[in-house]
């Protein structure tokens, strides 16, 4: 029996405003508990929420970037539930009229195929506080610093058909919010997290299966693992003749499985109604155009430009534009190396540099080798001071903090030998030392050419200019 997976995601992006969505308390991360929770965030009687303009602008920014309708008059609603980290007894959110309407995001899969994923809506809401269940003499500790932090909840259509597509979508959205500068994307701190709605149906059927919702996934890997586990689980249930129960589930990263949340925690009856403390939010075209004017070059546009302008492949262009920092780094190196060298720069950024960054789990922003330093190194390949192979050795030394390219080349004596006389001398020696191979080569064993090149490079410690070695060897043999 063939099954098809259907996935929709609800992504929560914490907006990087300086103050909260409805109060003037700071949103800075890591403050002492409750020092950034004011009377409004605490839900004290008699206080009123006042909406943060920046949060609205950021929501509109995302809306424009995903080609969505901006709702001219949107409404805030109360979502009612009881939990100690929600002091008011309701979360201010948007229900029937969200600020951002229908849009879409194109994702690219590993095989180069593109798919369009529909975005149903995106709405503004406030985050809740944090409950700390460690031992406080059998009580729970509440920190309300996070309460009132602006969130944008981005709800997708059930358009994804595999965990791979869901991860590609979440990654693309993650890259987009960072490009737009509306969310820092820090998943460890919970600034960017998602809930996944997962169901399966028999291949070829129209009707969706019963879905479950997996809450609070804060890494791409957890999203992938949680979906994979959940799909297997649902298929087992259905093939065993059972029925999937619509419920909320939690992913346990240690066990790699999802489990049902007890129904007590669920209480899915939120009794939404318009919040009488807030007037409708009117967004006029002037405001929208102001936001539009502040949009940066978006990932897809950048990718297209990288392909057209630098002649990069679709794969290279999309890898390099996966984050704004990487794209900026690449362009800074190209600026120094010359746009004719774009392909070489791309190879270095995606190869040596990314490899070294991944090895140490570092971000490109704190690479020990700056774009300027890498550009200077590549310039030395260009002017024939060193070969590409030696350059990798120089790069390692630069990474280890042994100085800039010229310093390393000088200190290690890596300068390429381009003196024809000197190379010829080595070639003559190699030929004299290997009469047997010479005979075989001359009697037609062409493959031995590589052997001679190798010997010459070995004798010169890899420093002979490869092009010259080839040329001179051909002549001499």
């Amino acid at each position: 029996m063939e099954w098809e997976t259907v996935i929709g995601l609800e992504i929560h992006a914490q907006l990087s405003t300086r103050s909260k969505i409805f109060s003037g308390a700071s949103t800075a991360y890591g403050a002492e508990p409750n020092t950034q929770a004011c009377a409004v965030d605490l839900g004290l009687p008699g206080v009123l929420p006042v909406l943060n303009e920046k949060a609205v602008a950021m929501a509109v920014k995302l809306g424009l970037a995903i080609d969505a309708q901006i709702t001219p008059r949107s409404v805030f609603a109360r979502k009612n539930y009881f939990y100690p980290d929600l002091p008011k007894g309701y979360q201010i959110s948007q229900y029937e009229l969200p600020v951002v309407g229908r849009g879409h995001l194109d994702i690219e899969l590993d095989d180069g195929e593109t798919r369009t994923i529909g975005v149903t809506r995106a709405h503004l809401e406030e985050d809740a506080g944090k409950s700390l269940h460690e031992d406080f003499h059998g009580m729970t500790g509440i920190d309300l610093n996070r309460a009132g932090t602006p969130l944008l909840e981005i709800v997708s259509e059930p358009d994804m058909r595999s965990s791979r597509e869901a991860v590609a979508y979440m990654k693309k959205m993650h890259s987009l919010v960072r490009y737009l500068g509306i969310c820092d994307g820090n998943m460890q701190e919970g600034s960017f997290r998602c809930d996944a709605n997962v169901s399966v149906r028999r291949k070829g059927t129209e009707k969706f299966g019963t879905r479950t919702e997996i809450k609070n996934l804060n890494s791409f890997r957890f999203l992938e693992k949680a979906i994979e586990f959940e799909v297997e689980r649902q298929i087992d249930v259905l093939e065993g003749g059972g029925a999937v129960v619509q419920e909320t589930r939690l992913f346990d990263p240690d066990k790699g499985e999802t489990r049902s949340m007890r129904s007590k925690e669920e209480a899915n009856d939120y009794r939404y109604f318009p919040d009488p403390d807030l007037l409708p939010l009117d967004i006029d075209s002037t405001f929208i155009e102001q936001v539009r004017a502040s949009l940066p070059e978006l990932p897809d546009e950048k990718k297209q430009r990288f392909m057209n302008h630098y002649g990069l492949s679709a794969y290279d262009a999309s890898t390099l534009t996966s984050s704004r920092e990487m794209a900026d780094y690449f362009e800074a190196v190209v600026e120094q190396a010359g746009s004719g060298q774009a392909k070489m720069v791309a190879n270095w950024v995606m190869g040596e540099l990314s490899g070294a960054l991944n090895r140490e789990g570092r971000e490109i922003g704190d690479s020990p080798v700056s774009a300027r330093a890498l550009g200077a190194l590549l310039a030395r390949i260009q002017d024939n001071t060193i070969s590409g192979k030696i350059a990798k050795e120089v790069f390692e030394a630069m990474w280890a903090g042994e100085g800039d390219a010229d310093m390393v080349i000088e200190a290690k004596g890596l300068k390429q030998i381009t003196d024809t006389g000197a190379i010829e001398q080595v070639i003559d020696q190699v030929i004299a030392d290997n009469p047997k191979q010479l005979e075989q080569y001359r009697s037609g064993k062409d493959k031995l050419f590589g052997f001679f090149v190798g010997q010459v490079m070995k004798q010169t410690g890899g420093k002979a200019n490869p092009a010259q070695v080839n040329e001179l060897l051909k002549k001499k043999l």
């Binding site: 103050s19 949103t27 269940h133 009580m139 729970t140 509440i142 007037l279």
Partner: protein, 95 residues
């Protein structure tokens, strides 16, 4: 429209209200009467009327994104029944 006693119990639970068993009947009747009042409006033709989100015909004013609040934790926590290490303490919410 008339609410059952179970519905009243559920509504009370959602609102965390403790309702005495002997009062349920009365609440059911009162709430049903309110719903009946609202139901009268179903008879009005509202096609072409924009749903009202707020009784005031005005729109939300926006605030500049600047932190204006200062730390008043000690002041606020003086009202709390239990605090520790800057946290508000509440009865344990998970086992």
């Amino acid at each position: 429209m008339s609410l059952s006693l179970d519905e009243v119990r559920k509504i009370a639970h959602l609102a965390r209200l403790s309702v005495q068993e002997e009062d349920l009947q009365g609440y059911a009747r009162n709430l049903s009467d309110i719903l009946g009042l609202v139901q009268q409006m179903d008879g009005v033709d509202t096609r072409g009327v924009t749903p009202m989100a707020h009784p005031l015909d005005a729109s939300q004013r926006l605030r500049v994104d600047e932190p204006t609040e200062t730390d008043q934790r000690d002041h606020f926590q003086a009202n709390a029944p239990a605090v520790e290490s800057g946290l508000y303490l509440v009865p344990k919410v998970i086992e």
